[in-house]
């Protein structure tokens, strides 16, 4: 009995001890909105190679990351999918002045190639064969809000009301459309450019306002110089190329 107990205890210390080797504050912790996952992976890798500063990104929805930050999560920089959340943090004195790091675009994407002959996105969503339309949560997901604005502007929002499905994020909207759970989805241009996205077709929704994505350095950072270098890197022409490759401007 004692034997088992000591083995379990030893295992416990090995497991809990192994993660604590890096000294807190040395590593740059970046909180990134889920839609930016692909460019962010490439950007952090490049940054690490150039500067030798270990950088780790955490991905979640903007709303959730915001909630974690106001409760004291130990991030150094926050890359949101909107301007609202960084501005709110700034107003509360939790982060520096926000800056825009990327602009996203809403597209209508479908895996059903029979719909690909249409000439506009309105034609696609109005097609009677379309039963379900995925739109990211219009309240918390910026891409959802932008899609709703576009639909309202062309006077289709109420007409199509019975066909909407509301996934939690723009990534889930693409997943629904990609798995054909929904016929079409209001997705991010970056998803349409991905390998999976190339299997269907997309239409740019020019009526949707661009998704302005802002970031800010959190006041609590113990790593200000590294954070500032990262921010400068993200805005460099070199980083711009990576962002464009993934469908951001």
């Amino acid at each position: 009995m004692y034997r088992y107990f000591s083995i379990i205890l030893a295992a416990f210390f090995i497991i809990t001890g192994s993660g604590g080797s890096a000294i807190a504050g040395e590593k740059l912790l970046v909180a990134v909105a889920a839609n930016f996952i692909l460019p962010s992976g490439e950007l952090t890798e490049m940054f690490q190679e150039k500067t030798g500063i270990p950088t780790e990104a955490t991905y979640s929805s903007t709303g959730k990351l915001y909630g974690q930050i106001i409760k004291g999560a130990p991030y150094d920089i926050f890359f949101a999918a909107d301007e609202k959340r960084p501005n709110l943090l700034n107003e509360q004195g939790l982060c520096d002045a926000p800056f825009v790091y990327a602009r996203g675009q809403v597209v209508v994407w479908t895996a059903n190639t029979a719909l690909c002959g249409a000439s506009t996105w309105q034609e696609v969503v109005k097609n009677p064969a379309v039963q379900k339309i995925a739109i990211a949560n219009t309240e918390s997901a910026p891409y959802g809000t932008a899609a709703m604005i576009a639909l309202q502007q062309v006077g289709l929002w109420d007409t199509l009301k019975d066909k909407y499905v509301f996934p939690q994020s723009v990534a889930q909207a693409f997943q629904y459309a990609e798995s054909k759970s929904s016929d079409v989805g209001f997705c991010a241009y970056s998803s349409a450019l991905s390998d999976k996205g190339k299997k269907g077709c997309f239409y740019t929704v020019s009526e949707a306002p661009p998704i302005v994505q802002a970031a800010c350095i959190l006041k609590r950072t113990g790593n200000r110089s590294a954070a500032e270098r990262f921010v400068a890197f993200v805005q460099s022409p070199e980083a711009q190329k990576i962002k464009e490759k993934y469908g951001y401007r």
Binding site: G63, Q131, K132, V165, F166, Q168, K180, S181, S182
Partner: protein, 221 residues
């Protein structure tokens, strides 16, 4: 505050409970009284939803419930309407998700029934079918009630699976747990707190009821 999600959660929990108790009773009877090959494999399979992360379960359900998936196609052929992103869809998902919670208390109750009672029933000429209705069910009422209540609160608190297959359609699949999640995401903390405030005492009361029922089963009679 919109009360529709709470009402929808109650409706979902109620429907799931009724269907599942009816479904689980014969299954449990099979597990307790009938010998067949591969029984332990079958039982482990039925218990799997209890230990799988709801996201894993939700992922598989999403795949089979789409109009291209096996269950989705079958459903559409029978009813003429798609299954995914509908209320029926989340009922189907809940049935799978809560199945082990229906079986476990029932199994405990069935196992407690004196075998001699059943043997006398057989000697007196009752078929296994009528023995099930006339002997097993009346002697396991507390177990059946416990399992019904457990399924009810478990479904009330269901989140991950519905997040994957529901699609958050107001009045259709946007249940309380999803509405709370969305309220928090949208920084509507007041709404979230209000809905939580209603859910907590409801769940607590039902748990209290289960404890009472199972206790009586042990010390009573």
């Amino acid at each position: 505050m919109d009360l529709t999600p709470l009402w929808l959660s109650l409706k979902l929990a109620f429907m799931t409970t009724v269907i599942l108790v009816i479904m689980a009773a014969p299954l449990t009877y099979l597990l307790v009284y009938i010998r067949f090959a591969g029984k332990s494999f079958f039982e482990a399979l039925l218990t799997l939803p209890m230990v799988l992360p709801p996201t894993v379960l939700g992922f598989y359900l999403l795949l089979v419930m789409t109009p291209q998936g096996k269950i989705g196609r079958f459903w559409e052929a029978v009813t003429g309407s798609p299954l995914i992103f509908t209320f029926s869809g989340i009922v189907v998902a809940s049935l799978v998700y809560s199945l082990p919670f229906a079986i476990q208390p029932m199994k405990a109750a069935f196992e407690k029934i004196d075998r001699r009672l059943l043997e006398s029933a057989y000697v007196l000429g009752l078929s296994p079918m009528s023995a099930f209705f006339k002997v097993v069910i009346p002697n396991a009422v507390n177990g059946l009630t416990a399992s019904a209540i457990l399924v009810f609160i478990h479904t009330l608190g269901e989140f991950g699976v519905i997040l994957m297959v529901g699609g958050s359609i107001p009045g259709e699949t946007k249940v309380a747990s999803i509405a709370i999640y969305e309220a928090v995401e949208a920084l509507r903390y007041r709404d979230a707190a209000m809905m939580c405030l209603i859910l907590v005492p409801v769940s607590y009361l039902f748990l209290l009821l289960i404890n009472r029922l199972t206790k009586r089963q042990i010390y009573g009679a």
